[in-house]
Symmetry: C2
Subunit: 274 residues, 2 copies
C-alpha cells in the first residue's frame, strides 16, 4: 500500500469545493493554506476576467491543475452541436491563456437524443477538437461521471467507455480524468486503471457518504465516506500518474461553511486518507 503523502505539494483545490468564493478569494485562500495548485471553473474565470485571473494566480503562486468544464456535446440538431464545439474551442483558449494543460470534459447528457446517438456525438465532438487542442498544448480529459448523471450530465459513465473513446480517436491529446466519486463502485475500476496507463490527465478526490440522499449535493470530504482512497491512489500512480490531485466536493453543508476551515480540513484529510 502507498504511503501517506508527506506534504500537500500535489493537492489542488477545485474551486467549486468553495463554491461561493470568487476566483480572487479562492486564490488568496489557497495561498493562506499553502497550496500550489487550483482547479478553475469557467463561470468563475469569466466573472473575474482572464487577465486578472492570470495576475491573481501569479501573485498567489498558483498553477492551474485543470479547467472545468468542456464537453456537453450531445444536442438534437447539428447547429447546436457546432455551437458546443465552438464553445469548447474557447475553453481550450482559456486553458492555454492560464498555462493549464488540461481541459476537463463533462461530456453531456442525452440532450433529446437516444443514448447511442448521444454517445456518438460525444466521440465526434472530441474528435473535432483534437487538432485545435494539440496546437495550443492542451490535453482533453474525458471524465466519466457516475451513472446517476447519465440522463442530464454525462452519457459517459465508466472509465472503460472513456478509454474506448480515447482509443477510437487515437490521439495522444485525449485521456481521462479519474474522480473517485464517479468510479469507486465500478467492478472494472482496477482493470481499467491499468488500461489507462499513460492516459490519466487528472485525479480528483472526495468521498461517498453512506447517507447520500441528494443526487448532486451529497459528496463528502475525504475520510467521511466509504471510498478506499489509498487503494485507488495506488492504482492511479501505478498507471503512471504523478500530477496534481484535485479535491472537488459538491456539498451544500460544505458550501455553507467557513472556507478557510474547509481548506484546513481538506489538507488534513488529504494527508490522512489520500
Amino acid at each position: 500500500m502507498s504511503k501517506p503523502f508527506a506534504d500537500t505539494s500535489r493537492l489542488s483545490l477545485n474551486q467549486y469545493t468553495t463554491h461561493d468564493w470568487t476566483l480572487a478569494e479562492a486564490a488568496e485562500g489557497c495561498f493562506r493554506a499553502g497550496l500550489q495548485w487550483i482547479g478553475l471553473w469557467r463561470d468563475k474565470i469569466a466573472e473575474c476576467g482572464l487577465d486578472r485571473a492570470q495576475r491573481l494566480l501569479r501573485h498567489n503562486g498558483l498553477r492551474v491543475s485543470g479547467v472545468c468544464r468542456g464537453g456537453w456535446f450531445p444536442a438534437a440538431n447539428s447547429a447546436e452541436r457546432q455551437d458546443r464545439i465552438d464553445d469548447n474551442r474557447r475553453a481550450i483558449d482559456e486553458c492555454a491563456a492560464l498555462s493549464c494543460d488540461t481541459l476537463v470534459l463533462v461530456c453531456g447528457g442525452l440532450g433529446d437524443c437516444s443514448l447511442l446517438e448521444a454517445r456518438q456525438y460525444v466521440q465526434d465532438g472530441i474528435a473535432a477538437l483534437v487538432d485545435y487542442a494539440a496546437d495550443r498544448g492542451v490535453r482533453l480529459g474525458i471524465e466519466p461521471l457516475h451513472p446517476m448523471y447519465a440522463a442530464d450530465r454525462s452519457v459517459i459513465s465508466t472509465l472503460s467507455q472513456s478509454l474506448d473513446i480515447a482509443e477510437a480517436i487515437g490521439s495522444d491529446q485525449v485521456g481521462v480524468i479519474v474522480d473517485v466519486y464517479h468510479v469507486w463502485w465500478d467492478p472494472e475500476l482496477f482493470r481499467q486503471l491499468e488500461r489507462a496507463r499513460g492516459r490519466i490527465w487528472g485525479y480528483h478526490v472526495n468521498d461517498w457518504l453512506r447517507e447520500t440522499n441528494d443526487i448532486l449535493m451529497s459528496r463528502g470530504m475525504m475520510g467521511d465516506g466509504v471510498i478506499e482512497l489509498r487503494r485507488i491512489r495506488e492504482a492511479v500512480e501505478a498507471a503512471g500518474y504523478d500530477g496534481p490531485i484535485e479535491c472537488e466536493i459538491f456539498n451544500s453543508d460544505i458550501w455553507a461553511s467557513d472556507y478557510d476551515g474547509v481548506l484546513r480540513t481538506m489538507c488534513e484529510r488529504y494527508l490522512q486518507y489520500c
Copy 2:
C-alpha cells in the same frame, strides 16, 4: 422492433408501487384492474400472514411474479452473515408457500466490509442457498442495483457482475432480475442481456426521470422518463424471457396518489411504452 403488447396478461404490480396498500388492498386492486400477477414484499406478507395471503391471492386470481426481497448478505462478522442466510431460507419458504418460483435478491451494501469482501460475501451467501432453494422449486434472481446504491443497498451494480456470480456458482437455480431503472445507462447492457440468455428470472419496468433529485424516491412511471423501454424489452425477449413484467416504482408522489388511478395509468403506459 417488438410490437406493443395487446393486453396486460404479462403485467404484474410490484406492490411497493402502491406502497401504502396492505396485501389485501393490493390484491383487490389488481383484481379490479384485471391483472393476473402481483409482486409481493416480505414485510407486507408478514403483516398479512402467509395463510391469509394465499387465500387472498387465490380469491383474486393472482399469481406471484416474485418475492422481494432476499439478499442483504454482507456483514462484518460471521454470526451475522449466518443470520442473513437463515433469513433467506425463510424467504425461500415463503416463496414456496405462495407458489412463487422467484426470490428477488437485493444483495446488500458494504455493511462495514470493504467492497471486495462484501462482494465475496454476496457470492458465498447465494452459494449457501442453492440446494435449499432447488429442493423447494425456488429460483434465486440476482438483481443488480444502480451504482448509486452500492454503499447502502447492493454492492452488485451491473448485469455483468450478476452473471459473473451466477456463472461462478454454476447452478441452474441462480439467474438475474433485470430492472430497467438500474441498468438502462450501462454501456454493456445489450451485450450482457445476450449473455444472460436462459438466466433471466424477472423483468421490471418503470422510468428514469430527467428531474431526478432524491436517490431513492424519484423513479418514474413508464413513459415519463428517458429509458428506451421497447428496445430493452426486445433484448430481454431475445434472451428468452417470456415471463411476467413487474412494474416497480419508488416515488413519493405516486405513493401519495389514488392507487386505482395508479393502476389504470400503469396499464395504459405498459401497453403504450413497454
